[in-house]
């Protein structure tokens, strides 16, 4: 996201165009920065839930800004107002800008109508991180969950977003699932828009590009 080597110098940041260009940062630099973020927050808390919350809050600020930027840049100052629209926006547009790829999958929860899951075999932030045994189910993906919550909240779809490790058969490493549970006020409102044959589908794989 950080602008890398623009040729022209702008005296005022507001004059700078918001065009995409190739804006990649070094993975190592990011990994060290993220590692420091986690280490710093670890010194500020006394339990794991608190650490998770702090990481999520750090991500929330990123999410809110990313939504603003992408709506302006890609969508001509319009944002998604449909539930599936915003979910696919997170799954593809946001993921691509932040992590350079589309998320591995976006699924609807099987048990609850208001739950969606974004799964990633290897989340970029977790690439170099091994969780010690004594930290249990803690997942640094909480930061990414925070980003998702920031985007959704900013777009008017408040939700509780959490990150979990889900073991996959025949694989040493579990994948990370970002679980999105929409707030009550969201669901009845958008229910009509996206409920074409809602009763029939128990598990629907959303068709995305």
């Amino acid at each position: 996201m950080i602008g890398a080597g623009k040729i022209k110098q702008y005296s005022n940041v507001l004059d700078k165009p918001l065009s995409k260009g190739k804006q990649e940062v070094s993975l190592s630099a990011f990994a060290f920065l993220f590692s420091e973020l986690v280490q710093y927050n670890q010194t500020q808390v006394d339990n794991i839930a608190e650490l998770e919350r702090r990481l999520e809050d750090a991500g929330y600020a990123v999410g809110a800004r990313v939504l603003e930027l992408l709506c302006h840049r890609d969508k001509g100052n319009r944002r998604e107002t449909r539930l599936l629209g915003i979910l696919s926006f997170v799954h593809s547009t946001v993921w691509k800008v932040l992590f350079g790829k589309v998320a591995d999958s976006l699924e609807k929860g099987t048990e609850h109508e208001d739950e969606y899951m974004i799964s990633e075999k290897e989340l970029l932030v977790n690439r170099f991180i091994s969780i010690p045994k004594d930290m249990g189910t803690f997942n640094c993906g909480a930061f990414v969950a925070g980003i998702v919550r920031g985007v959704l909240d900013g777009a008017g779809f408040p939700a509780v977003v959490t990150a979990h490790f889900v073991p996959i058969e025949g694989q040493q490493r579990p994948r990370t699932t970002i679980l999105i549970k929409f707030a009550e006020e969201v669901f009845p409102g958008v229910y009509d828009v996206c409920s074409v044959g809602a009763k029939k589908r128990s598990k629907v794989r959303l068709s995305l590009r």
Partner: protein, 141 residues
């Protein structure tokens, strides 16, 4: 036939922070491995002082009748060394690769404390893969 007997990583003050042995020959208990680590650390330092050449970076290879010991020291003073069968090739490359794994999966892990024993799952997984790959390459030759 096992090419690599064991792998050690020692921190800049000579403490053993990682030890793994491969295969049955040359197996050692914890005390012995700690002893080897600190002994090697001191010998390495002494060799630097004794060397007639200025700017010597210490012993890189120790050849004995029954084993070879290849050592790689990083710029920060962390030493990686493998004990292997006499005449095993390409150990420098393997050590460099292990150093790469160390910088990736140990140093970028927020839960690792510097100079402390390495307990990182991802490092173990990738190390096992690297050693296996190396073994396959050796057998193929």
């Amino acid at each position: 036939m096992v090419a690599i007997y064991s792998l050690y990583i020692i921190n800049k003050s000579g403490g053993l922070i990682f030890y793994k042995d491969y295969g049955s020959s040359g197996r050692m208990d914890t005390n012995d491995s700690l002893r080897v680590a600190s002994l090697w650390h001191s010998m390495h330092a002494i060799s630097q002082q004794l060397s007639p050449v200025s700017g010597c970076s210490g012993i890189e290879l120790l050849q004995a009748d029954t084993f070879d010991l290849h050592c790689f020291q990083s710029l920060t003073g962390t030493k990686f060394f493998v004990v292997c069968e006499p005449g095993t090739q390409h150990m420098e490359d393997l050590l460099k690769y292990i150093y790469e794994l160390y910088t990736d999966y140990v140093l970028k892990n927020p839960f690792y404390e510097m100079e402390m024993p390495i307990r990182c799952e991802l490092f173990d997984i990738n190390l096992t893969q690297a050693i296996q790959k190396d073994r396959v390459a050796l057998l193929g030759r």
